[in-house]
Each structure stands twice: as C-alpha cells, then as structure tokens.
C-alpha cells in the first residue's frame, strides 16, 4: 500500500533523515520505534506531505506521491493523527470531526457511531470547543477525526501519549479493528514498547535518522531494540 524508498529530509540545512525506507501493508500494523529526536515524526511528515523530502520516493497505491500536496494525499486515503494533537481549537468537537468530510462523497458525510462508542467523551462534548478539551480528550478527538475520513492508511504519531490506561487499551482494540475489519494499513509511531509489541505485525526501529532494525515482532531481538532505545 505505502512504500517509502530511500528518503532524505532536511530542516533548512540540517539533515534529519538519511535514506529511510519502509513499507506499510494493507491489513497490517506497522510500528516505528525510536528514541526522542531520531526522526520518527520527520518520517511521518514526509509521508503525509507536511514536509517535502529532499531525496527518495514515496508511493501509495502504486502512485508516486513524493511531491503531492497533503490535501491530495488525504483525498487518496491517508489519514494522519499528528503528535501534539493539532486540534482546531476554536471549532467545536463536532466541527472538528466534520473537517474530515471534505474527502468523502456527499452521501457518505456522517460520523460513524463507532467513533462515539469508542470515545464516549466525544459524544458528550460535541459542542465544546476543541481547544478547551483536556490533553487526553484532544488526543481522542484527533484519532476520531482521522477515522471520519474512512482512510486506506492511517498514520499515527504517538497516539497513546497522555491517554488514560483504559482508553489506551481501547485504542489498541480500535487499531486491530481497523486492521482486521476494515483492512486498513496502519502506520504507528510509538515509544511505548509493550503496546507496540502487542499490536504490531511488523516493527521498525529508527536511530539517528535511519532505520536500524526491521522485522516481525517475534523475529526481532528484544535486546537489540532496547539497545537502540537506550541512550
């Protein structure tokens, strides 16, 4: 589904990614691990089009999307749950969710009940402004918002950050549900190793702007991962 080939990425003149390659398959959860500042977010930025890579190629569904505008990518089915939530602060929860309607045909523009079933708090706070929600509530909103667009690939940047344990479990279930029932490709960036190991069909570990480990969770050596996650 998604294929990232040897991308480099620069912030100004400083390089953050060095030839990163990865793939996210349909109906599978791909998990990226890594310490702070190794380039996980940067990789996702390249995939979602928020930052243009300075080299390499990204294809989605067989189409080259390396230089495509973010909105186009969203229309082709890439949804994004960014780090730091990026809620529209002055839109109500409902309106936040509705921003996802842009990519849907007119007759499909509605918010699935499963979103509210999953995150009941969103249903309760439909008319509160997104910016007023607590950190964890915002995180839930961000995931819900991404689900509204009914994507083929959902990209999540540390979605469990700041979320209460019970909901973390639920998120795990949702991701599984999306993978299994909807056949979505899931690309997950995590720091929370246990969570990742439990979910992932494939694990990638990044260090200093490069992919250093890549494999199925049961194949990959726990100690090697830990080594890269330690300073």
């Amino acid at each position: 589904m998604l294929r990232v080939e040897h991308i480099n990425l620069h912030y100004g003149k400083s390089q953050a990614l060095w030839g990163v390659s990865l793939a996210a398959a349909e109906g599978a959860i791909t998990c990226v691990l890594g310490r702070n500042g190794v380039g996980k977010t940067s990789t996702l930025r390249a995939i979602t089009g928020q930052h243009r890579p300075s080299g390499g190629r990204i294809t989605f569904d067989g189409h080259d999307i390396t230089t495509m505008a973010p909105a186009e990518r969203a229309r082709r089915g890439i949804a994004f749950v960014p780090q730091g939530r990026e809620i529209f602060p002055l839109l109500t929860v409902k309106e936040n969710l509705e921003t996802g309607f842009g990519v849907l045909p007119r007759n499909r523009r509605r918010i699935d009940d499963e979103i509210f079933a999953l995150f009941p708090v969103l249903g309760k706070m439909l008319n509160r402004r997104g910016g007023d929600l607590s950190g964890g509530q915002q995180q839930q909103l961000a995931i819900g918002r991404a689900m509204v667009t009914n994507p083929k690939l959902i990209v999540l940047d540390e979605p469990t950050e700041g979320i209460q344990p019970s909901i973390i479990k639920d998120i795990g279930n949702v991701l599984k549900y999306l993978r299994d029932q909807r056949g979505m490709a899931v690309l997950l960036v995590e720091q929370y190793l246990d969570f990742a190991r439990e979910l992932a069909d494939r694990i990638l570990v990044m260090d200093r702007g490069q992919i250093v480990l890549d494999g199925a969770p049961d194949k990959i050596d726990e100690a090697a991962i830990k080594a890269h996650l330690t300073v």
């Binding site: 089009g49 928020q50 229309r75 994004f80 960014p82 990026e86 996802g100 842009g102 918002r145």
Partner: protein
C-alpha cells in the same frame, strides 16, 4: 418687501380688471433682462393668470427656459427630450430657436418662481402637485396667496392635501396678522400640531401678539414643542448613530474576514473598498452610455460587479503575495501596505487624481420622516438595510456552509487542515476573495456618501481596524456591536462636544475600554486563546 408690494399691486389690479391679455407678454419679455428684470417678469407672469405662465415659470426654475436675443427677445422651453417649444405658443419651435441660451437665474428668482408657481398650481388637477404647491405657499407665507388658497381649499377633496393647505393658511394668518381672532387661534393650534422647528419659529414670533389668548396659546404650544423637540433630538442622534454605525460596519465586515478570521493585517483593505467604489463609477458610466433608460438601477448592477472586482483583486493578491506569508502575520502588514500604495497610485494613474462622480439613483435620494421631526435620508436607510443584509448573509454563510467550516479550519491550523484533505490554497484564496469582495460591496455603498477618489479607502482603514478590534477579533457579532456602539456613541457625543472633540473622546474611551476587556467586546475565551 418691495417684491411683495409689487405683487400685491399687480394681483389686485389683475384680479379686479380681469386678466390682462398682455400681462403674459410683458412678463415674458422681461425675462430676457438682468436679474432684477427677470424677477419683475416672474411677478408679472404670475399675476397674468395666463395658461402658459405655469409652463414658463416651471421651465425658468429648472433652467430650461431658453432665450434668443432680439427686440423683443424670443423664448423657448426645453423639453425633457431636448426638443424646444416656443414659449409664447407652446408649439414646437423651428429654426427660430437657433443659438438659444438658457436664461440665467439666481436664488432670488428661483424663490420668486417657486412662490408664484405655488399659487398657480394650487388648482392643478394633480394632487401631488397641489400638495407641493401648498407646501410652497406655506414656505412663502405670502399674504397675497390667501384668496387663491381659500378658493383651492373650498374645492379640495383630498384630505391629505387639504391638511397641508390648512397649515399653509394658518401660516399665512400668523405671519401676516390676517384673519380674525378665532381663525388665528385655530391657526395656532394647526401650526402647533406640526411640532417642527418651522412651527416653533412661527409661534415664537407671536410672543408680542396683541391678543392675550393667542399669546398664551402660542406660549403653551412653544413649550410643549420645545420639550418634544429636545427629546426627539436625542432619538434623532441615536438614529444617526445607527446610520454611521452601519457605514462603519460595512467598511469593517470585509476586514473582519481578512483580518479577523484569517489574521492578515490587511492594510490594502481600504483600497478594496476603493476599487468597489470605482467599479460603481464604471458600471454607472457603462449604463449611461449603453442603457440610459436603466441608469437609475446601475447601482444594483454595481453590487455584484464590485464583489467580483474586489474579490478577484483579493484572490490575485492572496495567490501572489499573502499565501507566502501565513504564519508571519506582521509581515502581511508590510506587504499589504506596499500593495495599498500600488493600488492607490494605479487608480490615480488610470482614473486621474480627481474625484469621480457617482450619482444617487432617484430611489436613494431625498429623505423621509420616521416620525414628525425625525428624519432619515433614504440613502442612509438603504445603506442600513443593505449593511444588515450583507452582515446576516455572511454570518449564515460562515456558520452553516461547508466552506465556512473549511475556512475556519484552515485559518486555525493550516497544516492540519491540509492533512484532513482540505484544499487549503483554494480555501485561502476564496476566503481572502470573499473578504475583499465584501469590501468591494462596501465601496458601492460608500460611493453614495463619500468621495470616489484614490484616497477613499484611507479614510476608513483606521476606523475599520478599530471596529474589528473593539468588537473582538474573530467574532462577527462583535464587529456588528462594535460598529454600532462606536457609531451611536459618536453621534450622541457630537452635539455636546463638537465633531472633533467628540472623536477624540471616543478614541480615549475605546482605549480605556480595551483595558477592561483586553480582547474586545466579544472576546473569544478558552484555553486555546489564553495559551
């Protein structure tokens, strides 16, 4: 005075000795002379009782009476279609009219003609004209018009016109000391009912009347009118305030979008307004050249045109400049300031530095009474209604349309909006276009009350920003309230402090108010703002 005596003399003479056949010709010939002669001619014409006099006087008043010098000179009446009638025969004029020049008139002559026409027209078959005539008689308060007025009153069937005629008669009674005491008392009452400054002045003049009862009636009437007037004055000020407020609002709405919603410190906003005003001018010129019959409606056509012109300018501006500056709001100030200089000078180069003329359509000129004594000009009323319509339309659009939602999403978090599949570029361009288009529409309205000059926009930019900020950035209701509050406060202050000091006080009040509410009247609250 001399005039009145002369008129009196002539009227007496004319009435007693039947209509003098040559009165008309004598009068007409005098119209070719100097101002004094013309005035005499008017009086003679009025007294001639001749059928043609009315037409000649009306033409004279409107500068449509033409003369070809000679002895005696010959006169012609220019019709609406520019064809000429011979004034003496009222038949189409032939070659005789060659080289005809308009008869020169001045205010004195216009006044004399108006008074004379008033008397003549009192028996017109057209009720509106009779009413106008009665008004003219009221204004002139000419004692000699009394017989004609009485005659007309006797015949009058239309109650409205009759009332006006009675007021006119009352005015004549009071002004010239005519009528018996009962009639005069009745007159005091009639005039008192008018309740306007004219009535007040007339009644005040009765303070030294010989009859005590009239003196008292007048004094009572005066004090009640005075009280009413001073109350009405405040209401009137408030109405003016609303009218000023709607002008401010109109000028500011576009800015409430480009600045309030998008966060662009748009110094070129005023120039968008100016472009709208110039569009109005161009549309009007096109109408006058190609569709002269519909010229009265050119203003309506100018509204969409101005929206398109302003909007297009906005879209171009956004695509070429502003879009590179999102996230750097202060830089937009710099760039748009540069653009405003360019636009001003461009308009100056194309249309010249001087004012352009935009005429008011007939349905926007004149004024009407809301209550007696309370007036609002039609143009202002149209602007108030127009402004509210634009405001509500925009509000609904932003609230309820899909585009409104996308617009707000984009301005709050451009990057994330893009990741939600919103075409931010398009939304940005259209939003800025919308704001600029509305500024253009404001230009149509402002062309009715202000200069259509390259500087037009400059006059509104400070006020517009003040209104948006005072109301609370990002809140359209705030803009509405802000505009109205500033408008009304300004107009309530003005009679007491004068225009200059009033404005200074207002500015200081706004500054102090912002201390109390640092985010404007309708402040956005919540975590997102305070962080």
């Amino acid at each position: 005075m001399l005039r009145i005596l002369l008129l009196a003399f002539l009227l007496c003479f004319g009435l007693s000795a039947e209509t003098r056949a040559d009165g008309f010709d004598d009068g007409l010939h005098l119209l070719g002379g100097k101002f004094d002669d013309v005035e005499r001619g008017v009086v003679i014409l009025a007294g001639s009782g001749d059928q043609r006099a009315g037409a000649v006087l009306a033409a004279l008043q409107d500068n449509r009476l033409m003369v070809v010098a000679g002895d005696p000179p010959s006169f012609f009446i220019r019709q609406a279609d520019d064809s000429l009638l011979d004034a003496a025969t009222l038949q189409p004029a032939g070659d005789a009219a060659a080289g005809a020049k308009a008869v020169r008139v001045n205010n004195r002559i216009r006044r004399a003609a108006e008074a004379a026409l008033g008397t003549l027209n009192l028996s017109s078959p057209n009720a509106a004209i009779r009413r106008q005539a009665a008004d003219a008689v009221f204004k002139a308060r000419d004692g000699e018009a009394l017989p004609a007025l009485e005659a007309a009153l006797a015949k009058e069937r239309d109650p409205d016109v009759k009332a006006v005629m009675e007021t006119a008669r009352a005015a004549i009674f009071l002004a010239n000391g005519q009528g018996d005491e009962a009639q005069r008392l009745q007159a005091v009452e009639t005039i008192g009912r008018r309740g306007d400054p004219d009535a007040l002045a007339m009644l005040r003049n009765l303070a030294n009347d010989t009859s005590a009862s009239i003196r008292e009636a007048a004094a009572a009437s005066v004090s009640s009118i005075e009280m009413r007037q001073s109350m009405l004055a405040r209401v009137q000020d408030a109405i003016y305030g609303i009218s000023l407020g709607s002008v401010l609002l109109l000028a500011a709405i576009g800015l409430a979008i480009t600045f309030g919603v998008m966060g662009v410190i748009n110094m070129a906003h005023g120039e968008m307004v100016m472009l709208g005003a110039y569009t109005t001018y161009v549309v009007q010129t096109l109408f006058v050249t190609y569709l002269p019959d519909a010229a009265n409606w050119s203003l309506i056509a100018a509204v969409p045109a101005a929206f398109v012109v302003g909007g297009l300018a906005g879209v171009i501006l956004e695509r070429t400049v502003i879009r590179f500056l999102y996230g750097r709001p202060l830089e937009t100030l710099l760039a748009t300031f540069g653009i405003s200089l360019i636009l001003q000078q461009a308009v100056r180069s194309i249309f010249g530095p001087t004012n352009r003329e935009v005429t008011s359509p007939s349905w926007m000129s004149g004024s009407f009474d809301i209550l007696d004594g309370l007036t609002l000009t039609s143009g202002r009323l149209v602007i108030i209604i127009f402004c509210l319509a634009v405001f509500l339309g925009l509000l609904a659009f932003i609230r309820y349309s899909r585009f409104g939602l996308e617009m707000r999403a984009v301005t709050q978090n451009r990057r994330m909006a893009a990741s939600m599949g919103i075409r931010t570029g398009l939304v940005d361009a259209l939003t800025f276009g919308l704001g600029s288009g509305i500024a253009g529409i404001a230009g149509v309205a402002l062309s009715q009350i202000d200069n259509v000059s390259p500087n037009l926009g400059q006059g509104y930019i400070i006020d517009s920003f003040l209104v948006v900020v005072f109301g609370g950035v990002g809140n359209l209701w705030g803009t509405l309230t802000g505009a109205m509050a500033i408008g009304i406060a300004n107009k309530l202050l003005e009679p007491f402090t004068g225009a200059v000091l009033g404005k200074i006080i207002l500015l200081v009040l706004v500054i102090l108010f912002i201390q109390k509410r640092p985010r404007g009247l309708f402040a956005l609250k919540g975590r997102a703002i305070e962080a």
